[in-house]
């Protein structure tokens, strides 16, 4: 029997403040506490609190027949704890029902999987600790930042002991195959893959309130009908999206809350259909095939590759520089400074630097707190210049171990892989664009 597998991403970055040249050497205050607090508060009121209340209502009402999964980035958890503790409490309540699964991701919502395997594993471990600390559970399923995935990343994740992993159901990878089955990595040793059904997911996440769309207005009945049409050709319908879809990207007055409220019953109109968590799906469903994904894919933009975060010289050089700090910083054994550095790894900073669609006033712009992609780059350059000085003047600093000078390009390996994915993505399909979840 086909199940709907809902997974929601919950994330808020630490946005950088307008750190100036004059601040270098003078201030380690890199992040905009007021903006971060205000945005957390705003999204809590519009999305997290009312959406969590709704999900709890549905789970209780249907005695657990309705179930969902979340991953909450470590930096989001931290900000909830500090700025909106009631959000954290409401997530705890949801997890305590036993019908909500939590997934692991990198604590800092970073691109470490692409740049530094050790750092990646460290951030996965930190996220597991945080999940254990706040919720008392240890997830078995992994979702990488922005659903970024490749054969190599799958290898690392499986080595860490995960039973399953989520990624995007990219057409150019799937070709004639359907995302509605369970797959395995190319070199998999038993770990399973769940692929996002982006058509149905994006009907909710992006097109829900789009009046020019011929599916508008989208009712739970209509959506359930589309889901039911997959019968016989589906084991699982993976609906993966930003949690902020509910109430923040799609405002309450679009009817998004009512849609979710009546969705379970509409789905059950067909007796063969139900809901399942990712763990339940991979346990109950055998793998259909191994799937080969040599170049990184993601759920972002129409390209569904890495070009939202990497590819222009500002992005490539800034991120290459960020990762050059690793050795020098870790040698200092200064957890506070390490934490500062890691907060700079959050993918959103590089997303803001994206110039792909800038002129169109596209989603990148909507989700940025800066006036232009260049601002984000300029600010990060200032901050990293300061960080380099912090390291040099640190009491534990041993001069010979530090490598913080910028070299002319990003790691050549990364360059090459970005280039190939970009070339493959030149056929643009201007139907829908993925976003990250940073509300303004």
């Amino acid at each position: 029997m086909p199940n709907i597998c809902f997974y929601f991403q919950v994330h808020q970055p630490y946005r950088m403040r307008h750190y100036r040249v004059f601040d270098i050497g003078e201030s380690t205050d890199y992040f905009d506490e007021k903006t971060n607090r205000d945005i957390c508060r705003k999204v809590a009121d519009k999305c997290y609190l009312p959406a969590n209340a709704l999900m709890l209502e549905l789970i209780n009402k249907h005695n657990g027949a309705f179930k969902i999964a979340y991953s909450i980035s470590g930096v989001a958890l931290e900000q909830f704890a500090e700025y909106t503790p009631e959000v954290l409490e409401s997530f705890k309540k949801l997890v305590a029902t036993g019908h909500v699964e939590l997934l692991t991701e990198t604590y800092y919502h970073s691109l470490a999987a692409l740049f530094n395997p050790d750092e990646f594993r460290e951030q996965v471990r930190l996220h597991q600790q945080a999940t254990q600390h706040y919720f008392g559970v240890t997830p078995q399923i992994f979702r990488n930042t922005e659903l970024i995935y490749s054969n190599g990343i799958a290898d690392m994740v499986e080595d860490l002991g995960f039973k399953g992993m989520l990624t995007e159901g990219v057409d150019r990878i799937l070709a004639w195959r359907s995302p509605n089955f369970v797959y395995e990595p190319h070199n998999g040793r038993g770990m399973k893959l769940l692929l996002k059904n982006y058509k149905l997911s994006d009907d909710i996440a992006f097109r829900f309130s789009q009046q020019s769309w011929n599916g508008w207005p989208l009712t739970a009945e209509k959506f359930a009908k589309w889901v039911h049409e997959t019968d016989g050709a589906a084991d699982t319908i993976n609906l993966f999206m930003d949690y902020e879809t509910i109430g923040e990207h799609q405002w309450e007055d679009t009817g998004i809350f009512d849609f979710f409220r009546s969705l379970p019953e509409s789905i059950w109109q067909h007796p063969q259909f139900g809901f399942a968590t990712p763990s339940e799906v991979i346990t109950a469903t055998p793998s259909m095939a191994k799937i080969d994904i040599p170049d990184s894919i993601s759920w972002a933009d129409t390209e569904r590759d890495l070009s939202a975060w990497l590819g222009n010289p500002m992005q490539d050089n800034a991120i290459a520089w960020v990762y050059k700090f690793e050795e020098g910083l870790k040698a200092l054994e200064d957890p506070a400074l390490l934490h500062q550095w890691r907060k700079l790894q959050t993918s959103d900073h590089f997303y803001y630097m994206c110039t792909k669609y800038w002129s169109d006033g596209d989603v990148h712009k909507y989700f940025s707190v800066y006036d232009s992609p260049h601002d984000s780059y300029v600010i990060m350059s200032n901050i990293l210049t300061d960080l380099a000085i912090r390291i040099k003047q640190h009491p534990n600093h041993k001069p010979r171990t530090v490598k913080v000078e910028v070299e002319s390009t990003a790691a050549t390996e990364e360059k090459a892989s970005t280039k190939t994915t970009k070339e493959k993505a030149t056929k643009k399909e201007p139907t829908k664009k993925r976003t990250t979840r940073v509300s303004k």
């Binding site: 270098i24 490539d316 050089n317 110039t355 380099a388 390009t409």
Partner: protein
């Protein structure tokens, strides 16, 4: 005096120069009415009276004229510039808005709007003996005011001062309409004042103004003001800093500065470059610096105001002004005042005024890099430049500039000693 802007509401050096010059002139006993297109907030100065042109723009015909499609712009301008009674209401409001936001509207419409109001101001305040107009925007206004005085039977000389020509700003790609206004104004003026011999030659070469009609009055710096001292112990302890300060436009040569950074970085990777300023080339420069792998080597800051400007000069170990064409370049003097060694392009006016400035051609990045490294690595040379520069600054003041300007007034008024210039 007809101007465009005054600090603190200024976008660049023109406002700074007008303020300095008028302060100096008032020390020489000159009474000044300074006309601005529009004033903001509390714009009052002790040394002169500021008039907001907007207050005088209130009749109908400009609107009608500006809406006509059967006349050439030049014809419209001619009619407007001769004191036609006009008011433009909403259109006027929009024009003023355009002046301030620099949204390109027809330069003729701007200049002629200003001319019409200047004519009205001249009628209401007829007690002036010299008309002094600053840059193209005001030249028709100067002509119109002279015409008003002539109608009363007074000969009132019109001095067109040129702080920057369209050729300086845009090279060969200037707006031909602005160039036409400049040419008309400069040739109509009784005297042209250029801020350097470099600019005198530009005016002669591109606008056909005879050299004999062009006087040179160098800019200066405020003589009283001593910059506040800032402390940058931490950043300066780790890096030598090279500074660019100016609008990020073709004229200022920011692209040569980026090339300079690239060259110097190869020789001394510990040097940092700071580019201060906004402009249409800003984003391109940021992208270019990243493309060249100069992330973290070149740092950027948008336009700075007030004491932050001094702060930036003091942060730097050397200031570089690679302007492609710089009529003067007050920033170089400001840097000297802040004790920072200066390198400027030969294509600048300020290169003429001090021997304690290093000079290179703007396109000669190789040589520029050598000069930068020389200043950064030779403490003795750097110290000498700073000391010599401070000495030179003693005569590069607005008081000094105003003294020369006062002589020009004297000269255009026929040398008659009883004249006490009173300026529109």
């Amino acid at each position: 005096m007809l101007g465009w802007e005054l600090p603190p509401w200024n976008s660049g050096g023109l406002g700074t120069a007008c303020l300095g010059l008028t302060e100096g002139l008032s020390e020489h006993g000159v009474d000044i009415n300074f006309v601005l297109p529009k004033t903001f907030g509390d714009t009052s100065y002790d040394h002169m009276n500021v008039i907001s042109a907007v207050d005088y723009a209130n009749d109908d015909a400009i609107k009608q004229l500006l809406e006509r499609t059967d006349m050439s712009e030049e014809e419209i301008v001619r009619q407007l510039a001769y004191g036609t009674k006009v008011a433009i209401g909403e259109h006027q409001r929009l024009l003023v808005q355009h002046f301030q936001t620099e949204i390109p509207v027809s330069p003729h419409a701007q200049a002629s709007w200003y001319a019409a109001t200047a004519a009205r101001i001249a009628k209401k305040n007829p007690n002036f003996s010299v008309i002094h107009a600053h840059d193209w925007f005001t030249y028709y206004g100067g002509m119109a005011a002279r015409k008003v005085a002539a109608a009363d039977g007074r000969h009132t000389p019109f001095i067109a001062q040129i702080h920057a020509t369209e050729y300086d700003r845009c090279g060969e790609h200037g707006d031909p309409r602005i160039i036409a206004i400049e040419r008309t104004g400069l040739n109509a003026a009784d005297r042209v004042v250029a801020v350097s011999h470099y600019t005198k030659e530009v005016v002669h070469k591109y606008y056909g103004v005879p050299r004999s009609k062009i006087s040179v009055v160098y800019n200066g710096i405020p003589n009283k003001k001593q910059p506040k001292q800032f402390d940058f112990a931490e950043l300066k302890r780790h890096h030598k800093i090279v500074l660019f300060m100016g609008r990020m436009t073709m004229q200022k040569g920011p692209d040569y500065f980026v090339q300079l950074a690239h060259k110097v970085h190869q020789k001394d990777p510990n040097v940092r470059f700071v580019m201060v300023g906004s402009g249409d080339m800003e984003h391109r420069m940021i992208e270019e610096s990243a493309r060249l792998g100069l992330t973290g080597t070149i740092l950027f800051s948008s336009f700075l105001r007030g004491s932050d400007v001094d702060r930036a000069y003091q942060l730097a170990d050397v200031f570089v002004m690679p302007s492609v064409s710089e009529p003067f370049g007050i920033v170089a003097l400001e840097a000297m005042q802040n004790g920072t060694p200066v390198i400027v392009s030969n294509q600048s006016g300020v290169a003429e005024v001090s021997n304690n400035i290093l000079k290179v051609d703007f396109w000669d990045v190789e040589n520029m890099a050598k000069s930068v490294l020389h200043v950064l690595h030779d403490a003795h040379a750097s110290k000498n430049l700073v000391a010599g520069g401070k000495h030179d600054l003693q005569t590069l003041t607005w008081t000094q500039a105003a003294k020369v300007m006062h002589n020009v007034y004297h000269d255009v008024l026929g040398g008659a000693p009883h004249h006490r210039p009173h300026l529109v």
